[in-house]
């Protein structure tokens, strides 16, 4: 049944120079611009229970994944890390570099936006650098107050082959390109007379998605990913903060917050049953909160999985087509079809609509927490199962703990 249009969102085309696109938002999908938010709750959780990067807080499983990677994945990941390391290192010190030009006093918002689009970023937006989303380990690192949110689309064709190594090449390859483009854009901002700090997509300074939503570049999907107009979640996101004079963009209601409740394809198709149908209030935001422990074991063993990205109609067909179809028919484009919902899961074969792979409980038993937490957990289990450890075993345990503490926790990861 056709729907009444509440409002039409106009956005720039997918690539620099493309015509603007119109996105009709149905009446029954209209909620709020951005995301339902309780500011006082967000501030409270940020102050009392601050977030930390998964690269630290979930270091144990991030180390474990290397033990279950296929040879091909292992080889590719090592190669990616070699390419990526200098880009991440350059981003880490980028905020300390002095401007190379002299400010003219004019507002540079549109100059930066244009340059970013020319470089190839598909979505560019400006907002306040909201420090409530910054990770504990990065709070002293973040320097400037204005955030430039930047999304770089990853290859369409390769992404549709998810889960696969080809899609992983697109995923990590996009990070490698993006890391270099961010440094170029930061150089440009310095040439305008301002500081620019690159927030790498591989050494995240905080949760970036809330600021992308605030800048009007999309809304949070039920799969936990930013759904932007042209490529949904098929993008790699990063930020640059600056002291340049810029104007902030406004959050937009694309209808996604409610559309995901109607669609639910990612929730229904998730191989690990990690996605949750109903929204909850989490740290001051109303969202579908994914269950990390059900996601990670599948991601690690099945080429990065990302079925939730593959089956999202907004990723596959683009927001204009999906929303136009919803207005015209009241239906979700592609829902229930092999085209959208089918996927092949390595040796397990093909799963069509309504079919899911099965995993036993052991499959989901992976290391948890920080490296030292996991070591202590193993020590406790050994103590309970095998009795008091020998002097040598105690010494080995102490050496391992010391090694972890001396080495410190790295904030650098792959997401």
């Amino acid at each position: 049944m056709a729907k009444t249009v509440n409002h039409v969102v106009t956005r720039p085309g997918r690539k620099h120079g493309d015509a603007d696109v119109q996105i009709p938002v149905a009446d029954d999908l209209t909620t709020v611009p951005g995301i339902p938010l309780r500011e006082t709750d967000l501030s409270f959780y940020s102050r009392v229970y601050p977030q930390e990067t998964q690269n630290i807080d979930k270091a144990a499983d991030r180390r474990w994944v290397w033990s279950v990677y296929s040879d091909e994945t292992l080889h590719h990941r090592k190669r990616h890390d070699e390419i990526n390391e200098p880009l991440v290192d350059a981003a880490a010190v980028s905020g300390d570099l002095e401007p190379t030009g002299t400010p003219t006093g004019e507002n540079v918002t549109e100059l930066i936006r244009l340059k970013a689009r020319e470089l190839g970023f598909g979505e560019v937006g400006f907002t306040k650098m909201d420090r409530r989303h910054v990770y504990t380990s990065k709070r002293r690192w973040v320097k400037y107050d204005h955030a430039i949110c930047l999304a770089l689309e990853q290859n369409y064709v390769q992404t549709q082959s998810l889960p696969s190594m080809d899609a992983e090449f697109a995923h990590f390859g996009t990070y490698e390109i993006e890391g270099a483009l961010l440094l170029d854009l930061a150089d440009y901002i310095r040439s305008l007379g301002y500081h620019a700090q690159v927030h790498s997509p591989n050494d995240n300074s905080g949760a970036y998605i809330p600021m992308f939503v605030a800048a009007g570049l999309g809304q949070l999907g039920a799969n936990g990913q930013l759904l932007s107009p042209h490529f949904g979640s098929r993008a790699r996101i990063a930020m640059i903060t600056t002291d340049a004079e810029v104007n902030y963009d406004e959050p937009i209601d694309y209808g996604v917050h409610q559309f995901c409740q109607v669609c639910q394809v990612c929730v229904n198709r998730c191989p690990g049953r990690a996605l949750v149908r109903d929204k909850v209030w989490w740290r001051g935001v109303e969202k579908n909160k994914l269950i990390y422990e059900r996601c990670r074991p599948v991601m690690a063993r099945y080429d990065g999985c990302a079925v939730c990205m593959k089956v999202c109609p907004i990723q596959r067909f683009g927001m204009p087509a999906v929303m136009e179809h919803y207005v015209a028919t009241g239906e979700v484009l592609g829902k229930g079809t092999h085209l959208l919902e089918g996927y092949t899961f390595l040796e397990r074969g093909y799963f069509g609509p309504g079919e899911l792979p099965q995993f036993d409980r052991q499959f989901f038993e992976i290391p948890h927490g920080r490296n030292e937490d996991w070591l202590y957990q193993q020590f406790k289990e050994k103590l309970m199962n095998e009795g008091l450890p020998s002097e040598a075993e105690l010494t080995d345990f102490a050496k391992e703990v010391r090694s972890i503490l001396v080495k410190g926790n790295s904030t650098i990861g792959d997401e």
Partner: protein, 62 residues
């Protein structure tokens, strides 16, 4: 509805004909959109004619 084998046959032909050529990505996007529209019973007026021809060739019979 397009079944897995029909989808694979269509994309197989599209790849064979167009991979490596400038239009390949655009045609791939249109092929996904076109099949979804066909499955939904919508007109294919916004889809590239070359993709429409492929859909006509590989669509479910009957």
């Amino acid at each position: 509805m397009f079944e897995k084998t029909q989808i694979e046959a269509l994309f197989g032909e599209l790849e064979h004909e167009w991979r490596g050529k400038p239009d390949f990505e655009k045609l791939s996007r249109d092929a996904h959109l076109g099949i979804a529209y066909w499955d939904a019973g919508r007109p294919l007026t916004k889809v590239d004619p070359r993709v429409v021809a492929l859909i006509e060739k590989h669509k479910p019979k009957g």
